[in-house]
């Protein structure tokens, strides 16, 4: 369980995220939705201790993120941002291998190698594992990074807009991978999504943010309502029943 108590981040005197008092349940996929600038990524990066808090506490499975040593936390939670800049030339497999760093400190055992192989196979990257990252498309690279955080074997996985820049084929595949990570690997996946339809289809739990605070939280069918979504996005939204569940229409 991830708990935020009174968490605040002040960007300027009039731009503030929080106060946030949120509980994200263990298990399944929690999707964060909301308009641009609502604070979704800020919340996620604060939980993943990539960004400091200005006030409040974040607890992940009993570990206070600001007090727990980073090394210990890296075995509890993994976090991935949208864009990742790297200087060295790595292959997919070497990148995923670095995901084992919290467990092996860089000295990979046979057991680590097996887990790296599992993560690569899980994301269907086997045919690409010898390729260098700069030889991959954006979507493939994104999958390689997700494989890296899965190889980290943390019960909690935080992903900031993993569908960014993916076409629909790869976006669907990525969500299925994440669903698999939650269902078969038992990970708690927290993910920032721009597309509400993906949240409705794949998430167990939706957290809607607006103007720096959480405005709605609940199961997809509680959020997928005309009035609720219209209020969150300040845009007239109609929810219709599609073949796979509710979908929104808004343009």
């Amino acid at each position: 369980m991830i708990t935020l108590e009174n968490v605040r981040k002040d960007y300027a005197s009039d731009v503030r995220i929080g106060p946030l008092d949120v509980t994200i349940p263990s298990g399944g996929i929690t999707a964060m939705i909301g308009p641009n600038g609502a604070g979704k990524s800020t919340l996620l990066t604060m939980v993943g201790r990539l960004l400091g808090l200005d006030a409040g506490t974040v607890t992940i499975a009993g570990h206070d993120v600001t007090r727990t040593p980073s090394k210990k936390l890296a075995r509890v939670v993994s976090v991935l941002r949208q864009e990742n800049h790297f200087v060295t030339r790595l292959t997919v497999r070497q990148l995923v291998g670095l995901g084992r760093f919290p467990h092996s400190a860089g000295r990979l055992t046979a057991d680590d190698e097996r887990k790296v192989s599992e993560a690569i196979d899980f994301l269907d990257l086997r045919h690409l594992e010898g390729r260098h990252l700069d030889e991959l498309s954006g979507g493939q690279r994104q999958r390689a990074y997700v494989a890296m955080v899965l190889a980290q074997e943390t019960p909690y996985v935080l992903l900031d807009e993993p569908l960014n820049n993916l076409d629909m084929q790869h976006a669907v595949a990525m969500m299925k991978h994440l669903r698999g990570a939650a269902d078969t690997l038992g990970r708690t996946v927290v993910v920032v999504l721009h597309d509400v339809n993906f949240a409705a289809r794949y998430a167990d739990h939706i957290l809607a943010m607006k103007d720096g605070i959480v405005v709605e939280q609940g199961a997809p069918d509680e959020i997928m309502r005309d009035d609720v979504l219209t209020r969150i996005f300040d845009t007239p939204v109609t929810v219709v029943q599609g073949p796979y569940g509710p979908v929104i229409c808004y343009c």
Partner: protein, 358 residues
């Protein structure tokens, strides 16, 4: 790609590696992607080491003016051995420091020289000549002056990192910008002081401004060798963490490396190494860049514990090679730093133009 979706059925989950792959080479995340890569690296290290030994022997033995067995012969050998040790220290410092610096700053072009190191060296030297005159400067030469020089440089760099990385401008770009501004300011101050020097003082100063191993004295070695070995050893010991830091601050933090603390430690060690090298022989702006760039190209791995020794070895081969060539081919041995910077500067421009970004 059409099969991606069908193969990513949620129910599939984790499956053991399929037997059809069992006969292939074992899957490994090691520093080399293939056995060929590892062999290539081993050959490379052997060739570089052989070149280093050959050049060192050439530097030591070629064209000794004295007859073998005489005191003159022995004295020349001793002098050359000292210079050789200085070259080795400088190569170690520049090679390791540049690679580590590139990694923690997330670029492969800007080198520690940009932090105002060379400018500071120039300022300290100019200030000393300006304030003390030629007689004073000659009297002060020695280990205390060397230690003072190293101390000032490390203190400045560590202070800068501590200030810039702790507060609200926790950005390396800001730090580099300040380094450039600081460097330019220091250069202006020293060029102003240089204008006020007498021609003879200016002559003494100019001789020190060119990086040269003859700037170093044998009495420096007991100080600089342990210092360089200690700082270099500590950097090498952190090489696995550097592998992670190369993925950027966010990913490194996510993987449990305390990025800010680690960056500060690495930059402090870099400061010690560059200060030792600069205080010992003077500015060698492009040596580190040249060695690191060549090492990235030839080593063919991300692994710092492989790249860093190759960079140090390359720096030694380049520097020693330049000395041997200039001494025995062109008879212009004072100009080594000019040659290194000419070659290094050209490589710098080529890399910059080919990559088109920092």
């Amino acid at each position: 790609m059409a099969d991606v979706i069908t193969r990513t059925d949620v129910a599939t989950g984790l499956e053991p590696a399929t037997p059809s792959h069992a006969d292939a080479a074992p899957r490994s995340s090691g520093p080399f992607t293939s056995r060929r890569g590892r062999t290539r690296f081993t050959v490379l290290v052997v060739v570089l080491a052989a070149a280093a030994v050959a050049l060192a022997a050439g530097y030591l033995l070629l064209d000794n003016p004295g007859r073998p067995g005489t005191t003159g012969h022995l004295l020349v050998m001793q002098r050359r051995a000292t210079s050789l040790a200085v070259i080795a220290v400088v190569a170690l410092c520049q090679g390791l420091a540049t690679v580590a610096f590139h990694t923690v700053t997330g670029n492969r072009i800007v080198t520690p020289a940009i932090l105002g190191f060379e400018a500071l060296y120039v300022t300290v030297q100019t200030g000393a000549v300006y304030a003390l005159g030629v007689a004073g400067i000659v009297a002060l030469d020695g280990v205390p002056q060397l230690l003072l020089q190293i101390g000032i440089m490390v203190a400045l760099a560590v202070g800068l990192f501590g200030w810039l990385l702790s507060g609200r401008f926790a950005s390396l770009h800001v730090m580099l910008l300040i380094g450039i501004v600081l460097g330019t300011g220091l250069r202006s101050v020293s060029s102003f002081m240089q204008r006020l020097l007498t021609p003879s003082e200016f002559d003494v100063l100019t001789a020190r401004m060119f990086g040269s191993v003859s700037n170093a004295d044998v009495s420096y070695l007991p100080v600089v060798v342990p210092l360089a070995l200690l700082a270099g050893g500590l950097l090498l010991a952190r090489s696995r963490r550097l592998d992670v830091l190369a993925l950027g601050p966010a990913v490194a933090t996510g993987l449990g490396v305390e990025q800010r603390r680690e960056t500060r430690i690495v930059l402090t060690l870099v400061a010690v190494l560059v200060a030792v090298s600069t205080a010992l022989v003077g500015p060698m702006t492009f040596l580190g860049f040249l060695a690191a760039t060549l090492a990235y190209q030839v080593a063919g791995t991300f692994s710092h514990r492989h790249v860093m020794p190759v960079a140090a070895l390359t720096a030694f081969v380049v520097l020693c090679g330049a000395y041997v060539t200039l001494k025995h081919v062109f008879y212009a041995q004072g100009a080594v730093s000019i040659v290194v910077e000419l070659v290094g500067g050209t490589v710098f421009l080529v890399v910059l133009l080919r990559k088109g970004r920092l």
